[in-house]
């Protein structure tokens, strides 16, 4: 099975990613404040997509504000900084697993267990850009979200 989907110790990948995130924020002069950091941790620990209200609920039990903007602002910040991604299809957010690497990922969403994997899609993106250019469309960003079964659920079925 590809490592993307292998079960593993989430606390490790969370720690690594968190360290990289902090380094990046320092480098950029952006502030990874307590709420923001905690939201990032929450996403990293979950290791799947969480809705803004899921995140909010956890924040609230930890003494942070319990109103929607608290969660949305932190999430928006993380997305802007490339530390998290928004999954349109799920109205949900997920931690970026490749912080710092310039990437424009596609998401593979398992319809059974809801895990979300970031897939490398350089060839996909190149094809999309070629198509857009052929139509005279100036492509800026694209979201690519695939639905299907992850290897684990595929095997179980």
């Amino acid at each position: 099975m590809h490592p993307t989907f292998q079960s593993h110790d989430h606390s490790h990948c969370a720690g690594d990613n968190l360290a990289r995130a902090e380094a990046l924020m320092t480098e950029r002069g952006a502030r990874l404040t307590p709420v923001r950091k905690r939201v990032l941790e929450i996403l990293l620990e979950a290791h799947r997509a969480l809705g803004a209200y899921d995140v909010l609920q956890r924040l609230a039990t930890e003494g942070f504000g319990n109103q929607p903007p608290v969660a949305y602002r932190a999430l928006d910040f993380l997305v802007e900084q490339g530390l998290a991604h928004r999954i349109q299809r799920l109205n949900a957010f997920t931690a970026c697993m490749h912080v710092g690497e310039s990437h424009a990922p596609a998401f593979l969403i398992c319809r059974k267990c809801d895990t979300v994997a970031e897939a490398p899609v350089a060839p996909v993106r190149a094809a999309l850009e070629a198509t857009a250019e052929g139509l005279g469309f100036a492509l800026e960003r694209a979201s690519i979200e695939a639905i299907g079964l992850c290897p684990n659920c595929r095997e179980a079925a």
Copy 2:
């Protein structure tokens, strides 16, 4: 400029598409009832993505029900039948411009004027499938939505 983006007589493309839709529904034994047909017309006339509540408002002024489920049910039906598409990014719906042709389109969304074009993406999809298969992921459906500037707005800028 590519025909996809050329200005043209919408009433024509609406008429053609509507005729094809009716034929297809007959063939399938599905019923293109008055509400459903009207919703399809509304989408075809708009020629851009409309929110469910936009559609609902128009329906209401024409004597149909004015509660959300009326619009959502018709829209869901059209999407299921492949007569319309849902644009996740906009929480909106758009008429399918290639009814009957088997297709799995990408959408090119202009961030300036909100027009939505369906682009042919056989190569993009092939690349995506190859990537997914490489990860052991069983791809079923995918939504590809690109943001950028359409030729018209690009020229204006």
